[in-house]
Amino acid sequence: MPLRKAHSVLPGFGLAMGFTLLYLSLVVLIPLSTLFWKSASLGPAGFWQAVTSPRVVASYKLTFGASLVAAAINGAFGLVVAWVLVRYRFRGRRLMDALVDFPFALPTAVAGIALTTLYAPNGWLGAPLAKLGIKAAFTPLGITLALTFIGLPFVVRTLQPVLESLDPEVEEAAASLGASRLQTVFRVVLPALVPAWITGFALAFARALGEYGSVVFIAGNMPMKTEITSLLIITKLEQYDYAGATAIAAVTLVASFLLLLAINRLQSWSARLGSAE
């Protein structure tokens, strides 16, 4: 029971809390619980078979691999973008800053068809790549590009506030003690960014794992080759294999919750680091 409610003069705790719990249960908790209820109907052996069939395992590998590469690309370029946005003053900086959120704002289906058209063999970017003998659309490379697009804001947006809050005196101290600029950056600045950097990476990775709209157009969707897990779930649903679809969904759901939990731990670690300084 509320500890402070007894002495609080503020009204509305019961009403607000009651509505919150009711709405949360109706919209989120009850619907999500049906997932586990339904997948349990398979029984352990059936469940195991549904989530480890070769086609499903191939989709895990593709989704996991492409998401990891996309998050790594965003980890590298996101650091550069965040650095430039926080540290340098140049024309168009505010525009660039606002633009970083574009993948959050753009509906995924629009991103999907735009990227597919761009990287198709006759597209603006696909044609030059085709001359080099690289096929982007309808291959794992295309999937990775789409996942890079949708994960782009995460690393930048988690790094930016941390970079802004870094005390310049620390760098001045390092420099006045004789460190070169490279030493200061790699030994003083970057280590302080590590928790936020990993958090941004993990957020981009988690988002990529569940992504559907931006990938489904560019993926090609060939079973065993370019079929992501989200699409496989939809395929099973369309074949009325509800139990099979829910089993795979339960696996991905548990995986993303574990990731989310790890991210929360990371964030409290990075908050502790921040307050210790």
């Binding site: 029971m1 500890l3 409610k5 609080s8 503020l10 009204p11 509305g12 705790f13 009403l15 607000a16 809390m17 919150t20 709405y23 949360l24 989120v28 619907p31 049906t34 997932l35 370029f77 550069v80 650095w83 430039v84 340098y88 660039m96 606002a98 633009l99 959120d101 574009f102 959050f104 704002a105 753009l106 509906p107 995924t108 289906a109 629009v110 068809i113 735009a114 990227l115 761009l118 890079t148 760098e171 001045e172 420099a175 006045s176 600029r181 200061t184 794992l209 569940g210 992504e211 559907y212 989200s230 939809i234 509800y242 829910t246 969904a249 991905t252 759901l253 993303s256 990731l259 989310l260």
Partner: protein
């Protein structure tokens, strides 16, 4: 004497060099960042509009005026029109309870509110099929009442409410926690009613955060694809929102029309970014003064 001059002049230079990068490095990093963003953000955006206008302005507007496009637009406005106010109401209630009172299990509650962000869109749609579909838990019950949820408008709205669930709450909770409770307590002790306190103290304090959450919530509600795709059944003119209409046109190889409708959504995204930047700017202003 001339020999003493250079150290004096070089001093500020070394200081600048010590806490910043040399100019070529700056240019290189800025160029890399710009190149990455242009390649991944601006080029796709340009492609949308180029494809949309490929057959001229007449074809562009014809694709937007087509009855199926108009009904998709109406349905998109309807789903967002229901989902955003519901989640706004929830966000305010949840933030009030969590930020202004102490109770056990608060962190667990915050984690539960964030749950929909961790669920893949496809799964978000699927749970409503499991719940209300013909083989679903509540399916027979809904059918007996003559209520069609899955492959119908209520399903689209439910899926949209689910995926946009945390937006307002997660903006407001940290904001109201930072505000503390003193102002509201003072209002109450001075005799304000609950309503007066809320409208005159709480709401003005959180208005920018509230608006920010609503903008993000609305953008996602209008643009959601995966979750509504699963529950819609793709019935033209009946259960197609704008993003689903884009998909259908694209899969029919009607690329120009698909991109014309997509350009509307891209424009919405740009408006969202501008509104978001404006709110950020205004709330910074409000904090300074």
């Amino acid at each position: 004497m001339a020999a003493t001059a250079p150290p004096l002049r070089s001093r500020p230079q070394t200081a600048a060099r010590a806490t910043s990068e040399p100019l070529p490095v700056k240019v290189l990093l800025t160029g890399t960042a710009t190149g990455f963003l242009v390649l991944f953000l601006l080029v796709p955006l340009a492609a949308v509009f180029q494809q949309a206008f490929e057959k001229g302005a007449a074809a562009y507007f014809a694709a937007l005026r087509e009855p199926m496009a108009l009904s998709a637009l109406k349905l998109t406005l309807l789903t967002a029109g229901v989902a955003v106010p519901l989640n706004l109401l929830f966000g305010v209630a949840a933030a009030w309870a969590i930020a202004k009172f102490d109770f056990p299990g608060k962190n667990a509650l915050i984690t539960l509110i964030d749950l929909p962000f961790g669920v893949s869109p496809v799964i978000s749609g699927m749970v409503f099929i499991l719940l209300f579909g013909r083989q679903g838990v509540l399916g027979p019950w809904a059918e007996a009442l003559g209520l069609k949820v899955v492959f119908a408008v209520p399903g689209l709205i439910l899926a949209t409410v689910f995926v946009t669930f945390p937006f307002v709450a997660r903006e407001l909770i940290p904001l109201m926690q930072a505000e503390g409770t003193e102002e509201e307590e003072a209002a109450r002790l001075l005799g304000a009613s609950g309503g007066q306190m809320f409208w005159r103290i709480t709401l003005p304090n959180i208005k920018w955060g509230l608006l920010y959450g609503v903008i993000l919530c609305n953008a996602r509600a209008m643009g959601e694809f995966g979750a509504v795709s699963v529950v819609s059944g793709h019935i033209r003119g009946k259960t197609n929102t704008l993003p689903l209409h884009v998909e259908i046109l694209y899969n029919e190889y009607n690329f120009q029309a698909a991109f014309a409708v997509a350009s509307l959504l891209a424009f919405l995204a740009l408006v969202t970014l501008v509104a978001k930047a404006a709110v950020e700017w205004r709330s910074e202003e409000a904090n300074v003064h």
